[in-house]
Structures are given as C-alpha cells and as structure tokens.
C-alpha cells in the first residue's frame, strides 16, 4: 500500500528530473554557443533563472514533506539529497550563464585556440549526463566514475592557467576569456561530482570525503 508521503516523494523526484534535463540543455547550449561564436546570452539567462526558481520550488516541497511527514532513514536521505542536487543543477544554470556572458564581454573570440575549452566542455557535458543517470538509477558504480572525470577537467584548467602564466606572447583576450570559461567548467564538473556523491548516500548512507 503506498504511503501518504510517496506521492510527495514522486513529485519531488520529477521536479528534480525536470531540473536535470533543463540544466543539461543550458550547459550544453552555452558551451556550443561559445565554440560556435554565437551570442545566446538572453536564452541562457532565462533558462538559468528558471532553474533558480525550480530550485526554490524543490526546497519548498522538501520542507513541506519534512514538516508533514517527519521522514527518517532512506526517505530523509533522499529528500536531503534532492535539495543538494537541485542546488547543483541551479549552479549549472548560473555557470552556463557566466559562460555565455564571456562572449558578451569579449566579443569575437574566433581567433582564439578553443581546444582546451572544447575538451573540458565535452568532459563536463559527459559528467552532467552521467551524474543525472547515476542519480536517476541510483547507480553507485556509475557515480563513482565522476571523481576521475573531474580530475581531467581540473587538469585541463590548471594546465591552461600554468601555460598562460608563462607565455609572454599570448593574446590577452584569449587568455582571460579561456581562463574564465575553463574556471566555470571546472566548477560545473565539481557540482556534477557532488550530484554523484549523493547516490551512495541515498542508497546506503555512505558519505564520501570531499577534496
């Protein structure tokens, strides 16, 4: 027999999954727009705002479920994780917006080498996809892969910064814009890792230590 709380938990899950889809699209669009040199700031900003509002709705429903049903054990862990994951998705939107802003600030970046951003962007997109799949399917093994993927993005970012710091002849516009975007991608990858970390916590209460 379904419990009274189950309907609310299902609604919460669906709201988080809606956010997952929208945040994935938002980040993908912002990365693609940068690579293709297209200015899609308005569209990405409106999606980012929508994600922020959805995060508020997730929080409100989570608090309502806690107040009404005083959930414990796996129910409590799931609700807590939904709040964390919704925050992560909202951050995806914010960083996507920041990425799209770079084109607005710097204008035409077609002369810049965008290879590092392409690689980190592709990795970050894969991480978002994987983190959502792991969360949806409660797949601990899949979630465990995210940390190594995160290291890849971290290294691309650090290599770019180190290289830029020692390069005397680099184009300043390309260096600054590349650094900013890679920094945003590095943060996106961190949040995808945090989404993954909720999976073992939901399943068995296991908390992983953050670096």
């Amino acid at each position: 027999m379904p419990r009274l709380m189950d309907m609310g938990l299902e609604k919460l899950r669906n709201m988080v999954l809606d956010m997952a889809e929208l945040s994935q699209n938002t980040v993908s669009t912002s990365i693609d727009a940068y690579v293709q040199g297209r200015d899609l700031r308005d569209r990405i900003y409106s999606w980012s705002e929508e994600l922020r509002m959805l995060q508020d709705e997730v929080s409100e429903l989570a608090v309502e479920l806690i107040a009404r049903y005083q959930p414990v054990a796996s129910d409590l862990r799931f609700i807590k994780s939904c709040m964390e994951v919704a925050y992560g998705f909202s951050r995806f939107g914010r960083y996507a917006h920041d990425i799209s802003d770079v084109i607005g600030i710097f204008g035409d970046l077609s002369s810049c080498d965008r290879q590092a951003v392409k690689e980190a962007g592709s990795q970050a997109k894969d991480m978002i996809r994987l983190s959502i799949k792991a969360f949806t399917e409660r797949d601990v093994e899949l979630a465990g892969r995210l940390k190594k993927m995160d290291d890849v993005v971290d290294n691309i970012y650090l290599d770019f910064v180190k290289k830029s710091a020692h390069e005397r002849e680099g184009n300043l516009k390309c260096v600054v814009s590349g650094t900013l975007i890679l920094r945003y991608l590095e943060r996106i990858a961190d949040h995808a890792t945090y989404v993954g970390e909720t999976v073992p916590y939901i399943v068995s209460g296991e908390r992983s230590a953050r670096k």
């Binding site: 419990r3 709380m5 414990v72 054990a73 796996s74 129910d75 409590l76 209460g205």
Partner: protein, 186 residues
Amino acid sequence: MLDGSDIYAKGIDPVTIRRRVGMVFQKPNPFPTMSVYDNVAAGLRLNGERNHSVLDRAVQQSLELAFLWDEVKGDLDKSGASLSGGQQQRLCIARALAVQPEVILMDEPCSALDPTATAKIEELIASIKGNYTVMIVTHNMQQAARVSDFTAFLYLGQLIEYGETTSLFENPVEELTERYLTGKFG
C-alpha cells in the same frame, strides 16, 4: 541487568531495586487519596524519612526538577488527582525523582497528553538526563528522535538494532529498522 547484576536473581530485594529504578507509566497514576505534597513525599516516607525539613526540601526540589513547582506551590495540600493530565504526569515524575533513583523508566509517558504537556515532559527529560539514566518506551518515533541520545529498536520482543539516535534515524543498519521507520511494512 543493573550495573552488571541480574535484578531478577534470587535474594534481590525488590524494594531496593524500586528505589534505584523509578517508574513512570503511560497513564498518570498519582495516589488518588493523597495531596500533591504527600504524593511526592510518599517514597521518602516509605524509606523511613520523617524529618519535616528534609521532606519539605525534597518535595520542592523534585517538583522543581519536574517543572511543576511554580504551578502547584500554593496548592500542595490539594489532591494530586485534581491536577490536569499533564500536571499529574509531571507529579508522577517528581514522585519518582524524590527518592533519587539511578534510572528512571518511562513507559509511553506522553501518550495520553496533548502537545503542550508533551513538550513540557520532553523538556523535563532533557533537563534531568545529565543526572539520571532515563529510559523511555515510545511508539512515537519522532519523540524518540527528539529526546534520546541512544535508541534501541525492539520488534516482537527482539532487539533489532541499537545505536546513536541520529545515526539510527538517518542511516539504520538493519533492513527491518529501515522498513519500520519509513512505514514500508506490509
């Protein structure tokens, strides 16, 4: 077992055990023919205490510990049975505290009380737990989560799981505990 001794063993004096272990029951059960004062003093008198000033001090201290003194200090001669349900329960706790037991057992102490009276009992439990071992039986899991430091989950007479309250309620080890806590039975 109490301090490693079997309290059901031969030769154990039940009166001594009752002095060491105070009890509070589901339904408040003040002695109906006794005043508020006499209810609290009853245990001490049974143990031979006759000194009025000692009794006066013990009654006041116990009623203060039970958060009842301010409400009844002008009516100590009134019948204990004339108090409200919540007050009666706190009177029973004061009666148990008066003999300074080591352990206080409470069997569903709030099941017959409204939320306000329940909150007072829970505050009382929190305030005395530094000096007494308080053991509560409750079917109200939120109450167990609110007032206890350690929780034991018993099911059909078997101890299923015991641990720190936060960890048992957030991350129970046993599947049965998980299902019971989340109401996924049946």
